[in-house]
Amino acid sequence: MLAPNPSETTFKVMRILLVEDDSEAAAYLTRALNEAGHTADHAADGEEGAHLAASGRYDVMVVDRLLPKMDGLSMLKQLRASGDVTPALILSALGQVDDRVEGLRSGGDDYLAKPYAFTELLARIEVLARRHRPEDTETVLRVGDLELDRLAHSVRRGGISIPLQPREYRLLEYLMRNCGKVVTRTMLLEEVWDYHFDPQTNVIDVHISRLRAKIDKDFDQQLLHTVRGSGYILRDPGAASERPFDRNA
């Protein structure tokens, strides 16, 4: 398990269940997800959603909170009660902290307030789909020659030890766990700082550039890349990306 798994950074087609009652929004999302190389099934209400989800064929669910027949939270509660662990992202017009907490308590794995940018949604579901894989328990994370030891809390690149501040360490750990996936600024703020608001200043960019100065600056190959309009990606140069949809464009 110590060798980096090449498939880890390779693009993977996800099967997505989209439970959304607004047919226009659903059509837009389905098309956008298809363009991003994924397949999406659409359910228009909570009952249909629960029925489809029960098949267990999906890598991730995107569930609107307000749905006819059975609302999104009830649907998730029912699924979780029956043992379903498919990662779920809740979409909601209610974006306050307590709404979010309620959503996560009901069995959601992530929460995105409407309106949202599609890149944000895509980044989140790609990270979600990965979450339930076993290597989360790995003690050493590797991306190329970059190595993060979770037990010793130490980082090395090419055998050279790189001292990091605690927050930089957490930032890097999150990026490495989601190596090959785009992570947005909002996701970083939520995961690394546990803030659910958007500071007006480009705080994340500055923290990323500090981290980049430590892990990339003195090395030939750049690992941490900026994805314009979306966020950041930590890419393993050894693993070829087969992503059909180039978001760097």
Partner: protein, 497 residues
């Protein structure tokens, strides 16, 4: 009649009527019992004295014969307050007596008279009937002797008591009725006032409040509570109204701009590159509108106080440390000297997310407006400390500051001072900070950062541009005289329980 019925419907009046009735009945029973027992005691005494006298007279008759009896009778009758004496022949004809006339038939019976009998007296001219009880005995020679006693005393007593009782009961009923009228009328009046205020409020005069007399009675307590509730409702209502006003006035402008951009892009669609750029701008603008919208909702939600229930005990020092850590690199990148002065273990009841956002807004503002011409001496100073039992959370800069006349205005929604109009922003940041402060029972204060240089020397010092990293005060040789801005959240410390 209607009014009387309303008065009777008042609980206090009903209770007082019930108590008066019970008290009256008890009082009557008590007085009757007392009168009866007093009267029977008095009678017992009379009977005893009569018995003694008869025994005495009987003795005289036996000893000295009729003559002795008569002498004795004459003497007894002459004494002041004498008993009644009648001596008759067996036929019933009166031989001697100290009364003029007696109810017929009384003398014919034996032993105690069954009931008081009537008699008339000598030497008073009047034919007034008096009442008495008596015992009649037959002498051995067939003559009959009556010894009696006027019942004046016990009867008078009974009359006095009865009169007193009637008077006091009458007085009681009178006072009772008076009290009910006063209390009831007062209560009714108060209720009428409350009802009238309520009607005015329902009619739309939301500024109307229930009257509070200052008497501190239950009406006042109730009115005060209701007024507090009305205040809160008014505040919620005001917030709602302001949001809708804001949406109407301040979102229309960017929406119009958005529409124009889309229109232009459509009009000049020949150039797909330009259309693309316009669409890009449309998205940016839309995002900005959404942000504004979210901020508005957030502010009104915080202002309504519905988040107050979610305040938990938290370590403000850690919270400030986290935000400071988020901003330190940004400040240094922007050429600001970063200062952090943090007292440890500041405990507070609060909402981490909201306080972090408020602090973040203040830092954003300091970085945005705190620039110093020439690029030197800009600083971002974050501090948190105890002060007079409160906690002062402060963000300072060396920028142009805010004139004190504008301190109130800048926290209003969409206020943007002239100097800042060219910079991006929606004019909502400080509104949220103030709302967060109020939610935590605190205030947002502004001051010139460099007004009291003497007290806070470090605040005015110049930091060389890019002079190293890390927190801590950096002193330069040249003091800068800039007003600067010090925005403080003054929050109540968590009470030590």
């Amino acid at each position: 009649m209607q009014r009387l019925r309303t008065i009777l419907a008042i609980t206090a009046v009903r209770l007082s009527i019930a108590y008066s009735l019970i008290f009256g009945i008890v009082a009557v029973v008590l007085v009757l019992y007392m009168t009866n027992s007093t009267v029977s005691i008095l009678r017992g005494q009379i009977e005893d004295s009569i018995n003694t006298e008869i025994a005495d007279l009987d003795e005289s008759y036996k000893h000295d014969g009729l003559n002795g009896l008569l002498i004795k009778l004459e003497r007894a009758a002459a004494a002041p307050g004498a008993n009644l004496y009648v001596l008759t022949e067996p036929t019933g004809r009166i031989i001697a007596a100290n009364i003029r006339d007696i109810e017929s038939g009384v003398i014919g019976s034996d032993g105690w008279t069954e009931r008081p009998f009537a008699y008339t007296r000598y030497n008073q001219g009047d034919r007034h009937h008096y009442y008495a009880i008596a015992r009649i005995v037959a002498l051995p020679n067939g003559m009959r002797l009556l010894v009696g006693r006027d019942l004046g005393e016990p009867e008078r007593f009974r009359v006095v008591i009865g009169r007193a009782m009637i008077m006091s009961l009458g007085f009681m009923v009178g006072v009772g009725i008076l009290t009910w009228l006063l209390v009831g009328r007062r209560a009714l009046k108060r209720l009428d006032l409350v009802a009238k205020s309520t009607e005015r409020i329902m009619a739309g005069d939301v500024g109307e409040r229930l009257p509070v007399t200052g008497a501190g009675d239950e009406f006042d307590r109730l009115s005060t509570r209701l007024n507090t509730m009305l205040d809160r409702i008014a505040r919620l209502d005001e917030g709602l109204k302001q949001v809708s006003d804001n949406i109407a006035h301040d979102l229309k402008t960017p929406l119009t701009r958005l529409r124009n951009k889309a229109d232009q892009a459509l009009g000049g669609a020949s150039d797909s590159e330009a259309a693309r750029a316009a669409l890009q701008e449309v998205i940016v603008d839309t995002d900005q509108i959404i942000k504004t919208f979210n901020a508005l909702l957030m502010i009104s939600r915080v202002e309504s106080g519905s988040a107050a229930a979610e305040l938990v005990a938290l370590d403000l020092s850690a919270l400030v440390g986290d935000v400071a850590e988020l901003y330190e690199p940004v400040a240094e990148e922007a050429g600001f000297a970063f200062e952090l002065s943090l007292e440890p273990d500041l405990k507070i009841r609060g909402n981490r997310e909201l306080l972090s956002q408020a602090l973040s807004n203040l830092c954003d503002n300091a970085l945005k407006y705190g620039h110093v011409e020439g690029g030197e001496g800009a600083r971002l100073a974050i501090s948190a400390k105890r002060e007079d039992g409160k906690i002062r959370l402060e963000v300072g800069d060396n920028g142009p500051g805010i004139p004190s006349s504008e301190h109130e205005r800048v926290t209003e929604r969409f206020t943007r001072l002239e100097a800042s109009r060219t910079l991006p922003g929606n004019g909502l940041g400080l509104s949220l900070v103030r709302a967060v402060a109020q939610l935590h029972g605190g205030t947002l204060e502004f001051a010139d950062a460099n007004a009291d240089n003497a007290a806070d020397g470090g605040m005015s010092s110049v930091a060389g541009p890019g002079s190293g990293s890390g927190s801590g005060t950096q002193s330069g040789p040249e003091p800068v005289r800039r007003p600067g801005l010090r925005a403080s959240l003054v929050l109540p410390a968590e009470p030590v329980s």
